[in-house]
Symmetry: D3
């Protein structure tokens, strides 16, 4: 069945990453995937979590939040409710793991890079857009303290995208909120520049899914991630792209 915005099944929504979006953080971008808009910032802090103190190793931690005004119906502010939801924490763990999978935490010493993903408009795919945008902010931030001849802590690219099986039974790439809320299978895929998987999270929301369907979804996800990594490279520009994977 045709998609509402007439996209092909394997077509991403129009996407764009604005760099240097905020003034103060070491790295900051605004990523847009269709109507989904997320501010991704990377700040450097001279401390590490308790379990790393004294090891000489650093850390990446991610936090995620929806502005109450970002969603179709206003959502409650987590600071007012007094705690983060399970969904929020699940997303924060996904973003953190995805970035750490291409990151050499030993190369930054005892520093934490705090990733803040604040969604200012939510139309599906906010967690995967957060990964894709946060990667760019992370590179920006690491470039601020990189010293020539050293190891650049970001070892490879990483991007993420959602895929799913729509209500009509067709697989599709990069679902908007309306498609997502009716999807019978929902999957998030994060992938590296080298073409390997970092995260594969598929859920049969409406019904279980077959191995053949899983393969189709992985195929679409892989294609979407590749296209986004290619765009990350454009946005970062030659000098920063050159840094990724530098070993001294």
């Amino acid at each position: 069945m045709e998609r509402k915005d007439r996209r092909r099944a394997d077509q991403l929504r129009p996407y764009r990453i604005h760099r240097h979006f905020q003034k103060y953080p070491a790295g900051s971008v605004l990523i847009e995937m269709g109507n989904t808009k997320v501010i991704c910032a990377a700040s450097i802090e001279d401390r590490v979590p308790f379990f790393l103190r004294g090891t000489g190793e650093g850390w990446i931690a991610a936090e995620y939040s929806l502005l109450p005004s970002a969603t179709g119906t206003r959502s409650q502010r987590e600071a007012v409710r007094g705690r983060q939801s399970g969904r929020t924490q699940e997303i924060e763990r996904l973003i953190g793991r995805s970035l750490r999978s291409v990151f050499d935490t030993k190369a930054i010493g005892e520093r934490t890079i705090m990733i803040d993903c604040d969604v200012i408009q939510a139309d599906g795919g906010t967690r995967t857009a957060s990964v894709t945008g946060a990667f760019v902010a992370l590179v920006e931030a690491c470039a601020t303290f990189y010293e020539k001849g050293g190891i650049f802590p970001v070892r490879d690219f990483v991007s993420a995208v959602s895929v799913g099986i729509r209500a009509c039974g067709d697989p599709a790439l990069d679902l908007c909120y309306e498609e997502d809320s009716q999807a019978i299978v929902d999957m998030n895929v994060a992938m590296t520049g080298a073409g390997n998987f970092v995260e594969v999270q598929g859920t049969g929301e409406g019904r279980p899914f077959s191995r053949a369907e899983l393969n189709q979804l992985l195929q679409l996800g892989e294609q979407g991630c590749r296209e986004l990594i290619s765009y990350q490279k454009d946005v970062l520009g030659g000098e920063l792209v050159w840094l990724v994977g530098r070993e001294g």
Copy 2:
């Protein structure tokens, strides 16, 4: 002493209000006062706080938050800490009172207008920028359910601005963060289109202040508020300005 950005004592920073900033809320603007940037959204909910149930009267409630990445040094997310700070709640109460002072809560029936002020960049004056921006979002939101011939619930304009006595002893309008953090007196003024005060909150942070100094500050605040109300009118345009104060 000359101000760092060479502004006159009675000069506002460059300001701008972008309307229709988000897709979903009934009203949404981005207000910029120099480097301070706040998203102000107004959402309409069909419920009222407990103390108004059954009275036929509505309410305006405001929430305020800083993105962690908005400040010079990253600030902790209140949802992670598990509660809002006293400062946050004080600001929320100020925004709510300022808007309600020009609002006819009886004219909207049992509805709540939720005002969300989310600061994406903080360089001083975020609470007063929130009032000024939220007013525009409020008018946008009320226009969506206004019916011809009815009473428009917004009775007058309201804007707010900070004033203070700088470290050098000179009074000044619209302090940036650097000026504010060193100020010896700090004051927030909110004023209506008719030129009356809605809030006057002055604090001698560094030393007490005399009646003469208070008068100077009130004078500057009044001038700043007038200029901002004039700009609110430009931004809203004739049709919406015409609605403010309509009585049927």
Copy 3:
């Protein structure tokens, strides 16, 4: 490399499900997967979450907890800390989704089946053991209110198992804690009696993984789930197995 307990790569740990483990809940089992032991209880409550009131539809919700004494090093009690961790909530969501994927929530009216998974000994794979055990408790519970000739709300079997790539690079089924904590890829698979996937969650903890490795892991997971479903049938016995999927 040989596994510590000399298991084959595709071999489950010794498993056992004790039925009727507690006296009060409608369904209750103790599941053992090697040294991992989880009490899974299913209780029926005559209420539904807010979003289902008045719809005539029911719900399954899951809660998960580790006894502090269940782990190698004592873990802090979440009731003392005052909130559930992100990990706990992620697991609760996984258990709930897995069971709901084979459940007809409309067939039970406005009732909630509360699933409680309390781990009394944790040696890896507690979340997947919870799914496998909870399924049996769920069937026990639904049998208590099933009326002859009606639709049995459990539509198919579901089990779950962990798979991963061990530190040595070999893929393996059903990792114990020691294997899991050193694994470079970690995946949980939940599958139905019909052989379809309900959940696939794979994470490259140590390094990204290739499509070929993903295929190997899916293969092992599928095999493990099939074996566990076969055992669930043994444990439930003919009469209860007969109920699963009954349509009147």
Copy 4:
């Protein structure tokens, strides 16, 4: 319009400060303003907040609470609700700022003076009574560690009072609860012995207020604060009054 208790517009309610009210704190008074009664205690602690550690500077922090039985209708205990309200925190910040404005935090080394204001009967003006009473407790407490020839950390007197425009449109000093709850403008003023302002917080609860009205209110507030400072001196007695402002 005549006031209910036949007071003149510029007349304070009967006031009284009982010194040495509790046995254990370094300073402790009971202040009565009409039916409003507040226990104000000052305790000295040998630690400072995080941001002052190692600076050699001290701090004053204030806490405020209403006994549930203090109000016309019993109010909920904040310890039961699990958090302090925005109103409570706003009051605590006001008390702390007012006292710090006449206090030399460097003169006490790394010590914190904790001010506890516990309202045992509330009939309007509890926050301003807290400031006026806490000042006396603060002087009592500082006298316990003052050494002859040193700098006395309290540099000047400070008192506070509420003023407002009553429902009938008349300005009035020191509103009781009934007047306050119907007031159209509500203002708190804190002032020093030298006649300068420390806090001016005015809010148009019922309607905005003009500059002329603001001037009338400031005039009344100034008069009330002067009278209270004169009484603070009587209560403290010559020896302690002599200490205030001592510079060695």
Copy 5:
């Protein structure tokens, strides 16, 4: 060994109950037992806890708190910490049970009597002083809605006192803080006017205690409770004493 204040082993500290201590609650007293001072208030609310709705029966609930300034070393405010301690809740449960044991909750309809015990000075025995004082406030409160010829809900008197075995091994009545903190056995006894026990809570803090010692302590507790009930009668006066136990 002689007691520090030269009291006999079976002698209470000087005690006093001030009635009508606060203006707003239906009943309010200040009780002093030596240096221990507690405000006990009884407020009537037209609602009952969830488990009593629709039963026609009422309830008594008690809350207890220490002012931070009440103790030798300032104690942290529970509203700031965000939760009540286990000790506080234990005391609240004791006060509520003691009063309910002589109360006919059916005789007040669906009303709750909220008992607030706020300790303004703590020198040992605050929980038992709370019971003794709260009883008087409870009678005061019930008298406000008693109608001639009806059943008076308070069926008998109740008082409470602490007893213990001091560090020197001697049993003693009504321990002050210094004695209590060194006591090897600590016991609280609550008793009715008819001479029956309502609560007996003995703990061997320093060492276990024999049956003979238990008997000595019960003997002292009984004597102390009798004396306090006799004083409660003096304080209430003939008319209110006459009401206690009235059956129509």
Copy 6:
């Protein structure tokens, strides 16, 4: 009146303690008292509470929890509610005090023994079963670090049991839930091997109780505790029994 399960008034329910119930904690038992079943674990941690740091002294702390599925009607998980109830904390304090009363905290250095009592089935008397079971786990745990010739920190045995006056007016030992919920007097007694009391907590839930009734209850409690201590000795076996009270 005859008891439902035909027990004599002075008869315990069938009891059993399974040792080495869990794999990881230093001590772990499952205690059964009729249908009441509690897992009691003792874990050793190399840290002490704040107030003991640097004193060379150790501590015993106890935590208690009901599995939601342990009770007739499912009970809410405290980790979900976000805080422990007053009842839970009261029980934890009772367990901790009872064990500490026979324990030499100086003999273990700066270590904490964490006692976890997790009720997997609740049919009355869970807190006293927790004390009786936890004692055995405590001895198991202390044996793991005991060095020949040293002081064994457990000085004496301790057990606990509930007694009460049933609805029919008869006193009885070891009440099951049904008896307990209707009891008019409820008492918990903890006693040492030497026959002394550690805790006596009696409450007149339904009506006050006389001194004669108290004596009967103490008599029953003493008998029950003696029988349980005798069984603790059987279960521990000669070698461990020999350790209890060893002084080098």
